[in-house]
């Protein structure tokens, strides 16, 4: 019987590359699939993002700190009237913060068990 052994260490070593590959593949494939509902597009997009974050090994609390720090960048951009750029970074901040909160929630649940 053929058994494929996955080298876990190898996976760990290349997780960053795998994550990037998934996100690039997803970005390339998603718009090509006709009639994929928006829900599916966003859900897959969000899952890809989460998988990248987890693969890289970011902790939820670090993400929240990054999110909070990005408010300072947003403040600076707003004072400089760079509204469009600020809006884009604001969107990214939302994504970072929500990922952070979700990861912290999962961490908390895990530690409870």
């Amino acid at each position: 019987m053929l058994r494929i052994k996955i080298n876990k260490n190898l996976f760990k070593q290349y997780r960053f590359h795998i994550a990037i590959a998934i996100i690039v593949l997803g970005a390339l494939l998603l718009p090509r699939i006709p009639y994929v509902s928006l829900f599916a597009q966003y859900s897959i997009g969000f899952l890809l993002w989460i998988s990248v974050i987890v693969a890289i090994g970011f902790k939820g609390i670090t993400l929240i700190k990054i999110g909070v720090a990005s408010f300072l960048i947003l403040l600076l951009l707003t004072l400089l009237n760079e509204e469009n750029l600020a809006e884009q970074i604001g969107n990214a901040t939302y994504l970072i913060l929500s990922t952070g909160i979700i990861l912290v929630i999962f961490d908390t649940l895990k530690s409870k068990r």
Binding site: L38, V68, L74
Partner: protein
């Protein structure tokens, strides 16, 4: 006692502080001013307003409004009335009321925070949470309008969160939690059915609590958790029905009627989506994080919010809010606190997502939810409906962060830091301490001093009989308009129901009803034209006995154009025999119409049966045709005696005068080269579903457009596989062949101009695209199968085009009008109101008419066309000779912004901004000229319009003299309601001569003549009984019928609703129908003397509901007391 104070001193200090800040609304009011207008929902006379609202029928607005769905709002209307009845002076009522709301909102969030953070040293969390929650700009905008349902939604939110969190933690019991939740909803439910959108954050928070703690619960306990929550849901649901029976019962009884109305008002799902996009213009995450994003804030330098965009300190302050909020999860250490903090962070982010509404990048999901989830469209204003949940989350999170930071600072007087932090929060929200923020667009204000003449008028009006209506003139130019008065009133709601309970009719579309709107427009139109007979006939039928002239309207205000009061005043003064001045004070005059005596309840022997569209309703309001019933929606077995039949005929050729909507192509998702293409073709089944000729033609045109859109890609890519594209091309050819057959059989000789024009539009677009493909790819030369197929298609299109062009240009459509009259019998009439009127206001009748192909001269000054119609009548053509309104053009040199032009200029004779015009000219040189329409109008000076110069050359209508190669220039235009006059400019470059470039210039009014037929049937000899009536209340009338010997028709001039019932001795009269386009009619066959009871059904259900609610509340209180005493007893044991 002293011990009590000692024990609870910290609690009392905190509540004392909250009570103190709750006095802030007292700072907002100026002496003798009240909040009134926009969406405030406040009346001038609180008590009278409440008295109207305890009934499910509101007779004071136009022809009556069904309030069955509004009962939930009654408690909020009751509050100001109760405060006034308790002896508070009128001008202090709103101050007391808003302070009360301020206090209740603060206490509700305080209760939640105290439950989560009960320790003494947590005071900074509690007070910060209270301040962030109550000093918020979303809430402030509703405080400025005193909008109580929204204020109450801010109370219910933390209380629901508190009760559910307590329930999650295992106390109190399920039944008690259900009762508590329902008590909270009972008092702060935001207005029953109408308040459902407002409790969006409550639903969101409840769902978030359920979801969050489901995951937090260990997996072995999850089933119990689910069961517990499900039981709470069911139990609360049952209690909900009984607690809220007072508004649920009347609502449910009228649900099907209400739903249709509401969807129509919102403009359907599409309307709701467009609104959501508009409201979400500024709801980006960066704005929402800073608790901003309100659409009113932006692009408005006059608004109180402006400093928040310009002042660097305030900008820094705004960023401190999210920074502090999201630092809370970083600071939190204790496990118990961590769960709560994470929950509120989760809630905040969830709330932020929904508050963005339709704003990118996630806006599509919101639109998707609106389109797919039934009822979600009610949350079309995402920001306004969901941001309170974000405020709730942020208030707790910021409070916790503030506490954590202050605790970390090694400073002896930590309390001082806390106080400084609180002061900073108050300072950041400085608009709360100003009294100038009620301004909408000076002089329009939400805080107004109601003039004496308005109050005196209300006093006078309240003494008049309450069975008549008063018509308000001048009318707002548009039924959707804001109503404005020079003394500052600005509201979408008319002022009259706010000051009196007597009936008023005004051009206002509070409840969507096309018939009623046409009827009101017709009333104003006939008075404005001085067509007294038509006006009196209509007024008499609609129970109008008085006319109120309000000369203080802000006539030329750009947001609320109103017709000129002087026009109405002069007509009324001219007819002194008909209109008698009965009251006058300042700019308001009340006239009685002396020549009519309308009756609210009346008897008739027979009716006219109308088979007309709504557009002809003004033709029907003639003494000869009244009363009338409309065939649409009429019960099949109705026995009502018909004395004549009225029918109207739509103008088939008028489609040629409508503005055309361009047809365009959109890029398809699947091209013929895709492996999914056969699947796509398989799902195209519009043609199979088509039944009528028009449906078939529409389906075919739709299919040709799809294929053309696919083939259009050939203009940009190289063909790799001709076979794939050939399939689309062959299909296109076959569709056009089918169109040709259908066109030749059914359309070529018909008068279906609507479809003919549609074919022409598709044809032009597709001909150009196909011809482009052939030329660009040089397919003719290549002699490929694809080239042959496309050329054959083009040839078929051109054949149809030729025939169609001949048909569509066979006559001048501005003066010739075609009608299909094959179903007509009796006499044929023209509605003079639909014709062009000369300078003396006389209608211009046709010069000739044609029936089938036989021409006749038109008998001048007569609206009858033909006395005896030929049997084979089919097509009627009216020919008018309309005057050219472009007279005596003068040549002028006009300085435009950067260039000088030579123009031929003429004023448009007898111009009105409400009419449509068309201009024609022969143009010698393509694109050599420009045409401008210069409108002269007054502007009402307000803060916003002050910046516009009053008199300027601003050609808002400008068009190039493009003729499409025909040499004939045609352009349609329409002005605005406040236009006084207009001129038209035909201009060329200064080096050219406009007299050479433009020839045969004409401007004519676009008319839409209405043609109808009336067939007089047998005259009945039925005797009408004597009828008297008395009004018991707005939902109940007693009608006494004396000596009825024959069946008769009972008319009741309140707006038709199937919920109005007529009973004789407890038995319903079954034959109930729409009479005169708006009122109720019954066919009564009983003979003798008897009483008919007219009742509005939901009122009975309101009474049953109130009793049910009272019993439920009493039962619940007894249960809670019993549980409490049991608890005390067990404790003492």
């Amino acid at each position: 006692m002293l011990n009590f104070f000692k024990k609870y001193r910290y609690l009392l200090i905190e509540i004392g502080f909250i009570a103190f800040i709750s006095l802030i609304p007292f700072l907002w009011f100026k002496p003798n001013h009240v909040i009134l207008g926009l969406d405030s929902g406040y009346a001038v006379d609180f008590v009278l307003w409440l008295k109207q609202r305890i009934f499910t029928w509101l007779p004071s607005q136009n022809f009556g409004i069904d309030l069955s769905a509004e009962v939930g709002v009654v408690p909020y209307n009751a509050l100001p009335a109760i405060i006034e009845l308790l002896g508070v002076a009128h001008y202090f009522v709103q101050r007391v009321l808003l302070s009360l709301w301020f206090f209740i909102i603060s206490i509700s969030i305080y209760a939640l925070t105290r439950y989560i953070f009960p320790k003494k040293e947590h005071w900074i969390i509690r007070l910060t949470a209270v301040l962030i929650y109550v000093f918020n700009f979303h809430l402030y905008s509703f405080f400025l309008q005193g909008e109580q349902p929204m204020l109450s939604s801010y109370v219910i939110l933390p209380l629901f969160a508190l009760l559910l969190l307590r329930f999650v933690r295992g106390k109190p019991s399920l039944i008690r939690t259900a009762i508590y939740l329902n008590f909270v909803y009972l008092f702060f439910g935001s207005g029953g059915v109408r308040g459902v959108p407002l409790i969006g954050p409550v639903i969101l928070t409840s769902f978030a609590i359920f979801l969050f703690f489901f995951f937090v619960t260990s997996s072995k306990n999850r089933f119990d958790y689910l069961r517990k929550f499900l039981s709470l849901g069911i139990c609360s649901g049952i209690f909900f029905i009984f607690f809220n029976a007072y508004f649920l019962f009347p609502f449910l009884i009228s649900f099907s009627l209400q739903y249709g109305n509401q969807v129509a008002i919102a403009g359907g799902i599409d309307g709701a989506v467009n609104w959501a996009k508009f409201i979400s213009t500024h709801t980006s995450f960066i704005n929402l994080f800073r608790l901003q994003g309100d659409n009113n804030w932006y692009d408005n330098p006059y608004y109180w919010s402006y400093p928040y965009f310009t002042n660097p300190l305030l900008i820094v302050g705004s960023f401190m809010l999210p920074i502090l909020a999201f630092l809370a999860p970083v600071f939190v250490k204790e496990r118990k606190d961590k769960i709560i903090i994470l929950f509120f962070a989760f809630l905040g982010l969830f709330g932020l997502f929904l508050s963005t509404g339709a704003h990118p990048p996630l806006g599509n999901i919101y639109v998707f939810l609106m389109e797919r989830i039934p009822g979600f469209a009610a949350y079309r204003s995402g920001y306004y409906k969901f941001i309170p949940a974000v405020y709730l989350a942020f208030s707790i999170l910021i409070g916790f962060s503030a506490y954590s930071i202050i605790s970390k600072i090694r400073f002896k007087k930590a309390s001082l830091l806390g106080i400084i932090f609180i002061l900073l929060i108050l300072l950041y929200h400085f608009p709360y301490f100003q009294n100038t923020n009620f301004n909408i667009d000076n002089p329009f204000n939400l805080m107004v001093k109601v003039p004496d003449y308005v109050l005196k008028f209300a006093q006078y009006e309240n003494k008049l009989p309450d069975t008549y209506r008063t018509l308000v003139v001048p009318p707002p130019a548009d039924a959707y308009n804001i109503k404005t008065y020079k003394w500052g009133y600005f509201g979408s709601y008319p002022i009259f129901p706010l000051i009196t309970d007597r009936g008023f009719v005004i051009n206002d579309q509070f409840v969507y009803n096309e018939n009623e709107n046409k009827l009101i427009t017709s009333l104003y139109g006939s008075l404005q034209r001085d067509d007294l007979k038509s006006f009196l006939d209509t007024a008499s039928t609609t129970n109008i006995k008085y006319i109120l002239v309000t000369s203080d309207v802000a006539k030329d205000y750009f947001m609320s154009f109103t017709e000129d009061p002087s026009v109405f005043r002069s007509i009324i003064n001219k007819n002194k025999d008909t209109f008698r001045l009965v009251w006058e004070n300042g700019p308001w005059q009340l006239y009685e119409i002396t020549s009519i005596n309308p009756k609210k309840v009346e008897a008739f022997d027979s009716v006219t049966l109308s088979k007309a569209e709504t557009s002809s309703i003004d033709s029907l309001f003639k003494a000869d045709y009244i009363p009338f019933i409309t065939s649409k929606g009429l019960p099949a077995d109705l026995k009502v005696p018909i004395r004549g039949e009225f029918q109207d005929f739509s103008c088939a050729s008028c489609h040629m005068l409508e503005d055309t909507q361009e047809v365009g192509i959109t890029s398809p998702k699947i091209y013929p080269t895709s492996f999914l293409y056969p699947l796509k073709l398989k799902f195209e089944n519009d043609l199979k579903k088509a039944v009528t000729e028009d449906e078939k033609m529409n389906a075919l045109l739709g299919l040709t457009l799809k294929r053309t859109a696919e083939l259009d890609k050939l203009n940009y890519v190289s063909v790799q596989s001709e076979t794939d594209w050939l399939r689309a091309s062959d299909l296109l050819y076959s569709y056009w062949m089918n169109i040709k057959i259908l066109y030749n059989e059914k359309y070529k000789n018909s008068s279906n101009y609507a479809t003919l024009r549609l074919i022409s539009r598709y044809l032009t677009l597709e001909r150009n695209i196909v011809s482009n493909i052939i030329n660009i790819r040089d397919l003719k030369k290549e002699n490929t199968r694809l080239g042959k197929s496309l050329s054959a298609t083009l040839s078929e299109i051109q054949k149809i085009d030729k025939s169609l062009h001949e048909k569509l240009t066979e006559t001048d459509w501005e003066t010739n009008f075609v009608y299909d009259i094959s179903s007509a019998y009796g006499q044929i009439f023209l509605n003079p109101n639909s014709l062009f009127r000369d300078a003396f206001n006389k209608p211009i009748y046709p010069i000739a008419y044609k029936i089938n192909n036989t021409s006749y001269n038109y008998p001048q000054s007569d609206n009858k066309i033909f006395l005896q119609l030929p049997e084979d009548k089919k097509i009627l053509t009216l020919t008018f000779s309309l005057p050219n309104l472009f007279n005596n053009p003068a040549e002028k040199t006009v300085e435009f912004n950067k260039e000088t032009k030579r123009c031929l200029v003429s004023p448009i004779d007898n111009y009105s901004g409400m009419k449509r015009y068309v201009t024609n000219a022969k143009v010698a040189e393509e694109n050599a000229g420009f045409i401008y329409v210069k409108r002269d109008y007054d502007i009402f000076k307000s803060q916003k319009s002050k910046t516009l110069p009053a008199d300027f050359f601003n050609p808002e209508m400008e068009v190039g003299a493009y003729t499409g190669g025909t040499g004939n220039f045609i352009y349609q235009f329409r002005g605005s309601a406040n236009d006084r006059k207009a001129s038209i400019y035909f201009c060329t470059d200064k080096l050219l001569d406009p007299n050479v470039i433009f020839k045969d210039i004409s401007v004519t009014e676009l008319i839409h003549p209405q043609v109808y037929s009336y067939n007089n049937q047998s005259e009945l000899q039925n005797k009408i009984p004597e009828i008297t009536f008395s009004k018991i209340d707005p939902t109940n009338y007693k009608v006494t019928v004396k000596n009825a010997t024959d069946p008769f028709i009972l008319s009741f001039s309140e707006r038709f609703s199937p919920l109005w019932e007529a009973e004789i001795g407890g038995k319903n009269i079954p034959e109930h129908f729409l009479l005169n386009g708006y009122a109720n009619g019954w066919y009564v066959e009983n003979k003798g003397t008897y009483v008919i009871n007219l009742t509005f059904k939901p009122q009975r259900w309101l009474q049953i509901g109130v009793i049910t609610s009272c019993f439920t509340i009493a039962g619940s209180i007894i249960y809670l007391l019993f549980a409490f005493f049991n608890h005390v007893k067990n404790k003492n044991k």
